[in-house]
């Protein structure tokens, strides 16, 4: 493997100094499940790997009923499904965390790393978008917040400046009658990269029928994960039933603009976008109703 230096700063300030010095030649590592492989295969040239796992803010996992969930960028996936509160309140995140790679990968891989890797097919991103997650970014000039759906700018590209790092996700507390789901299509049962992925969430009125708020997000159908606002508009303020779900799925399908590659053709992905949106909404509805 190419030679690089390794640093494990114990606080944010130290990490930011390192990034300021090394710029694009440094990169934050969480679980390393993407980064180490990319460096080994010379897909990325680095002078310095900065381990995020000793920085308390990057490892934070805490819930507060007014502010919601703070999910540190380096927290490994397995810690979500071992946490009953997250399982209950943020089901879409648990869906995604439990299907990224196998056991050993989930024990290391983080949502922060998955987002910063910025793959169009990332499993965590549509789930985070469905849950309205916001990124907290720190740089030498201070912090800023960016909604997850605006973070990636292209395959492997995102809004982070060379002297910035992703600290955590701030995820609002779910309202009453809220349900969310993430699912993907892969040709095998486990352990594959999404052909298409879909995250959805629904917030119902007290009648448990009228949609107050909806979010639908599609992965692997565009250069970055899409938040399909027009599909949510199709649902909001209306009484939800299978017919309405079909209409929203048709809108989501129309928003998909995928490419053809080894995992699927353009036509197949467009078809899947509709099917997965329907299924994600059906499951979100069940969860919102508390069925």
């Amino acid at each position: 493997m190419q030679a690089f230096e390794y640093a494990a700063p114990k606080n944010l300030a130290e990490a930011l100094v390192l990034l300021e010095q090394k710029g694009t030649n440094a990169r934050i590592m969480s679980g390393g499940t993407d980064l180490i492989v990319q460096v080994r295969e010379n897909r990325r040239d680095l002078e310095l790997i900065v381990d995020g796992k000793k920085i308390p803010e990057l490892m934070e996992l805490s819930y507060d009923s007014s502010d919601g969930l703070t999910l540190g960028a380096s927290v490994p996936c397995y810690r979500f499904y071992e946490n009953e509160q997250i399982e209950k309140l943020y089901p879409g995140l648990v869906d995604a965390a439990s299907l990224i790679g196998g056991t050993a990968i989930q024990n290391r891989a983080s949502f922060g790393g998955n987002l910063c890797n910025s793959s169009p097919a990332a499993d965590s991103i549509p789930a985070l978008v469905a849950h309205s997650a916001v990124c907290l970014i720190a740089g030498s000039n201070g912090t800023r917040k960016v909604p997850v759906e605006d973070f990636c700018t292209g395959p492997g590209k995102n809004v982070l400046e060379p002297n910035e790092l992703l600290v955590s996700f701030l995820i609002p507390p779910p309202a009453k009658n809220f349900g969310a789901h993430y699912l993907r299509f892969i040709p095998r049962n486990e352990m594959d990269i999404a052909v298409v992925g879909c995250g959805a969430s629904l917030k119902l009125d007290d009648d448990k029928k009228t949609v107050k708020h909806a979010r639908i997000s599609l992965g692997a159908v565009a250069p970055t994960t899409l938040l399909v606002g027009e599909a949510a508009v199709e649902l909001e303020g209306k009484q939800i039933d299978n017919g309405l779900i079909e209409k929203a799925a048709a809108v989501a399908k129309a928003a998909a603009r995928p490419i053809s590659d080894m995992r699927g053709t353009k036509e197949y992905r467009v078809h899947l976008a509709g099917v997965l949106t329907r299924r994600a909404l059906q499951k979100s509805l069940e969860r919102a109703k508390g069925v």
Binding site: F4, G31, I36, G102, A104, I105, M191
Partner: protein
């Protein structure tokens, strides 16, 4: 030349100190520096599980962990599985069930299933199959491996 990092880790119950190039993986440290060659290099990219070890109680692929990361950590490898009374029930069950042919995947499977049974002593067959989905075997077709793990689970229950 990048300076080496000094690392102290507990490996199979023993405090071990070593010098590590930042680019060396935990697998490379185990095999090349510490001569613990039980953990195998299969794919070297986190897909096959032949290099599985338990790091601070958590199953990981040692090929995608940097050696420098394990300073102050506890690492369990296949070399530490056997107890003073002899082979671990998982090792015995793998032999009894002929759950190996070429043997390259076996240390990884034993570490992965040990991590599961440590955590969930009453794992179902479905739990075992899902948990071990990150360990690939190209010889056995998996059935004998799964049967061996189920056998070992029963034996561990008896030994309690």
């Amino acid at each position: 030349m990048v300076a080496k990092i000094q690392v102290t880790a507990n490996i199979n119950g023993e405090e071990v100190e070593f010098l590590c190039e930042p680019r060396q993986s935990l697998l490379e440290i185990l095999r090349d520096e510490l001569k613990l060659t039980g953990s195998k290099e299969g794919c070297n990219n986190g897909n096959c599980g032949a290099c599985s070890v338990i790091l601070d109680g958590v199953l990981v692929n040692s090929c995608v962990v940097l050696g420098g990361e394990v300073d102050g950590c506890k690492v369990e490898t296949i070399e530490g599985v056997m107890g003073p009374e002899g082979l671990h029930p998982l090792q015995q069950a793998f032999l009894k069930n002929a759950a190996l042919q070429c043997g390259i995947c076996t240390p990884g499977f034993i570490m992965a299933s040990k991590a599961l049974l440590d955590k969930k002593p009453k794992a179902t067959e479905a739990d075992i199959r899902l948990w071990c989905a990150g360990n690939l075997c190209r010889c056995t077709g998996y059935d004998k491996i799964v049967r061996a793990i189920i056998d070992a689970e029963a034996q561990l229950e008896v030994n309690k």
